[in-house]
Symmetry: C2
Subunit: 191 residues, 2 copies
DNA sequence: GGTTTTGCCTATAGGGCATAGGCAACGTAG
DNA sequence: CTACGTTGCCTATGCCCTATAGGCAAAACC
């Protein structure tokens, strides 16, 4: 029997692909093993278990997304940066629903160093965008939480099909939401 | 052997309590059976299966929450109504995290008549609150989606512990977010 | 080329989901 | 009040997923 040549990166990448294709709920050790043409116990030398596998996919997703946001924000400020950040998140969620769902559920399980690092990058991105607005220092955390909440809520609702049947397409609501968000940030503090 | 006296309502109520106590992930047919002092197969005459059980808990949660919002909104309009609606959601999520999580995940599984009815009530509540603002008719759907997204995102992030360690308490951010949301709705259209 | 390391295997145990079929506790009718 | 029919919870069973233990052979190293 020739070896399959597994390693942690390959296992996690396969898991991420499986989550995107079949849904985050289908992300199991057994399914990944099937996908790789290998028996389930073989994966336990590369990944500690189901929980760690999910955390690894979450970390991968957050890292990939942070990379995208890095590129998207380059050279932009103000409303342009806000829209770039937001669109990067929404596009990633649309392309990789399973990864994104895993990332969203992170924190509920294991929190390793990679996950924490990626989380920090995301927080930094948010604060960088806010720097393009005149939000008072003491209010920045509140503003960041507001932006994060809105993006997460909208993307999850859209992904869950909550806006699916309704008449005005979700895209339009997204543009409006970002316009309003921009207005909020522009006037924050000078109320 | 004396009978346990089960029925669908008791099963679903037990399931809801279990979800709140041990987390939505712990909501299994077996766990509910244990809780009721009964063997797992006994539940299948009252509930079709695990998926239907989760959907039933989601429907229960959405109905309970809609009842609360009904009471909270009575006699209020404008910012008062907005805050009442928002606080009712946040308080319910804090008191019943498992139920709330099940409600949020609904739509991913079965969608029965009860679930649809409860969903409609929630949409009506949102539109009722917007009626207290001068949002143009064509923009109401967008405004409703924005409000819904923000509430859901904030409550989920808070419940997931995203704001846990940070210095300004989540409560403060919540108040700020609702103030900004009120400002958005007041000026919507007259931009 | 022999030895050590490594990687994937089989075997096994436990738990959850779900269906099939049995038996006893209840409601009802004579 | 007894006999019957119905209903409710049971045991038995099979499948899938998780996880651990221990074996065997393919690489890697000297």
């Amino acid at each position: 029997m020739t070896r399959a040549g597994l390693d942690r990166a390959r296992v996690v990448a396969t898991a991420a692909g499986l989550a995107d294709r079949d849904g985050a709920a289908a992300l199991t050790v057994s399914a990944v093993a099937r996908e790789l043409g290998v028996r389930p116990p073989s994966l336990y030398s590369h990944v500690a278990g189901a929980q760690e596998l999910r955390a690894a996919v979450a970390a991968l997703a957050l890292t990939e997304l942070a990379d995208r946001v890095d590129r998207a924000l380059a050279g932009l400020a103000g409303a342009d940066a806000l829209v770039a950040l937001a669109d990067a998140h929404r596009a990633y969620a649309a392309e990789h629903p399973g990864r994104f769902a895993a990332a969203g559920a992170a924190g509920a399980g294991l929190v390793d160093a990679e996950l924490l690092g990626a989380g920090r990058r995301h927080a930094d991105h948010l604060l960088a965008v806010l720097r393009g607005y005149a939000v008072p220092a003491g209010e920045q955390v509140h503003a960041a939480r507001l932006v994060g909440s809105l993006l997460r809520g909208f993307i999850e609702l859209e992904g869950g099909g909550a806006f699916a049947g309704s008449s005005p397409p979700a895209e339009e609501s997204w543009v409006r939401a970002l316009e309003q968000l921009d207005a909020v940030l522009r006037t924050w503090g000078s109320a």
